[in-house]
Symmetry: C2
Subunit: 267 residues, 2 copies
């Protein structure tokens, strides 16, 4: 049955959506029946794939707020072996509406449970926060992938992120593991890049054998190089593979998809 | 007395801190006695200027939570004519602690009121949210500057941002105006850049004469080109002018400081 992967980082603008969309497309191209769930009220993953809001079709907000709704009614096809559970801006109301409910952290997991047999991989694009939507993703994911940029200041948010993962793995989701870090918009020329990556490698290797949820996590290869084509394709509603299949961005996300596929069934 | 400028955008990673720091430094170099207020619990502006957390000195959190505290006790000098009201990560508690208080939106303004006579310009680096900290900034600012990137998806957040500005100008801060938009990490080569900028220009010019808070706002020149030096200098605790004074980033922020100075006293 499907392995669920949460793409999360509370820091904004680091590459979660670009990675969720192009990694999902990359996995689909490798033969994986893939579902991409847009869990961000900004609805950028849905926009990125050219999905228009549609009042005649439920979206992820409706699925979360009405557990009796068949979640497959909210699924849209976006290409061969790639489906999307799309978001609309009404999702902005979800966190405050879910907050008083007893099953507020398990609504997403329950919906995925009804869909999982159709897919090999489920990817969740999280919003830039550690609120209830991201908690729903962490409560049901098998693994977490952390997109980030190799900048000096990026290191400062990682501790808090991992605390949240640890809290969830210590309570509602004991199986939760961090698969690794994806370096996005990577610039080998920047003076601090090598030091930041070395810091991340040191931190992760020192976790080996500790039993922490990031024990065994890696900085995944390859890093995704900064490539203008990746910033351009959302405005055409396309993945990098449709827009510029020969570009470095396509090469890197294809290789990342292989790395991820190797690790997807590890827990 | 000092003009107060809020650097705000609820979207993460768009260039607020890079702009707040280097614009403040640019204004200081033009002779303006400048105060930079770090209003983000991530404390990136403070880190950017090499300011270490110091348990022997109050920070912006203490100033907000204790109105009887003299705010100048929390000021640190960061260079000629550049002072900083630094943040520490304890600021993360401020929003929930301020929430029940009657004067929760005026605490920052009251503190600035006690300091304003020392300065010509006060710049506020806002967190990536429209929560109570950003509201405090909008409640007391004379003008708002919106850093953003000329990407297709960036247009989608602007509406919500302007709604919030309008709500504040319609209630607690009738003088509030949007000075304009600063284009950060600008890449003239990207296919969508020109269209995004044209969209922004159209939107702002159609506001002329409507009396909206962004009536008269412009996309400010120059755009700040993507320049690796701007991403490197935080790891050395320096502004671009200290780190790489000959770099395009220094050139662009110096020119932006002139544009901003021209408009600073317009309301
Ligand atoms: N490798 C890359 N090369 C060039 N541009 C990139 C790359 N990765 C991401 N970007 C651009 O950076 C911006 C932010 O990326 P993205 O939207 O994926 O981040 P995010 O973490 O999902 O943001 P948010 O926190 O708002 O959800 C986008 O304009 C995107 O096109
Ligand atoms: N013109 C530029 N050229 C190159 N890199 C830039 C430029 N402007 C900003 N950056 C880099 O982009 C990243 C995000 O910028 P910054 O921290 O200023 O954004 P922010 O809006 O303050 O983010 P947050 O929402 O987290 O507060 C940083 O690593 C910064 O160094
Ligand atoms: Mg996103
Ligand atoms: Mg910032």
């Amino acid at each position: 049955t499907a392995r669920t992967l949460a793409l999360m980082n509370q820091k904004g603008g680091v590459g979660k959506t670009t990675t969720a969309v192009n990694l999902a497309a990359g996995l689909a191209r490798l033969g994986q029946r893939t579902l991409l769930i847009d869990l961000d009220p900004q609805a950028h993953a849905s926009l990125h794939l050219g999905i228009e809001p549609d009042e005649n079709q439920p979206s992820v907000y409706d699925v979360l707020m009405d557990p009796s709704l068949d979640p497959s009614s909210a699924i849209r096809n976006s290409g061969e072996r790639l489906d999307v559970l799309a978001a609309e801006t009404d999702l902005a109301a979800a966190e405050s509406e879910l907050a008083p409910l007893a099953d507020r952290t398990s609504r997403l997991g329950n919906a995925i449970g009804k869909l999982a047999h159709h897919y090999d991989a489920v990817l969740i694009d999280c919003p830039p926060s550690l609120g209830l939507l991201t908690i729903n993703a962490l409560a049901c994911a098998h693994q977490v992938l952390i997109p980030m940029q190799a900048h000096f200041l990026a290191l400062h948010g990682v501790g808090k992120l991992l605390e949240t993962v640890k809290m969830l793995s210590g309570s509602v989701n004991p199986e939760l593991r961090v698969m690794g870090i994806v370096l996005c918009a990577y610039d080998a020329q920047a003076s601090h890049t090598r030091e930041v990556v070395a810091d991340l490698d040191d931190f992760l290797s020192s976790a080996a054998g500790t039993g922490e949820p990031w024990d065994g996590a890696r900085v995944l290869g390859p890093a995704i190089r900064r490539n203008i084509k990746l910033a351009e394709c959302p405005s055409f509603g396309q993945t990098i593979f449709e827009y510029a299949p020969g570009a470095p961005g396509a090469e890197d996300y294809e290789a990342l998809a292989r790395s991820v596929l190797d690790r997807l069934a590890s827990n």
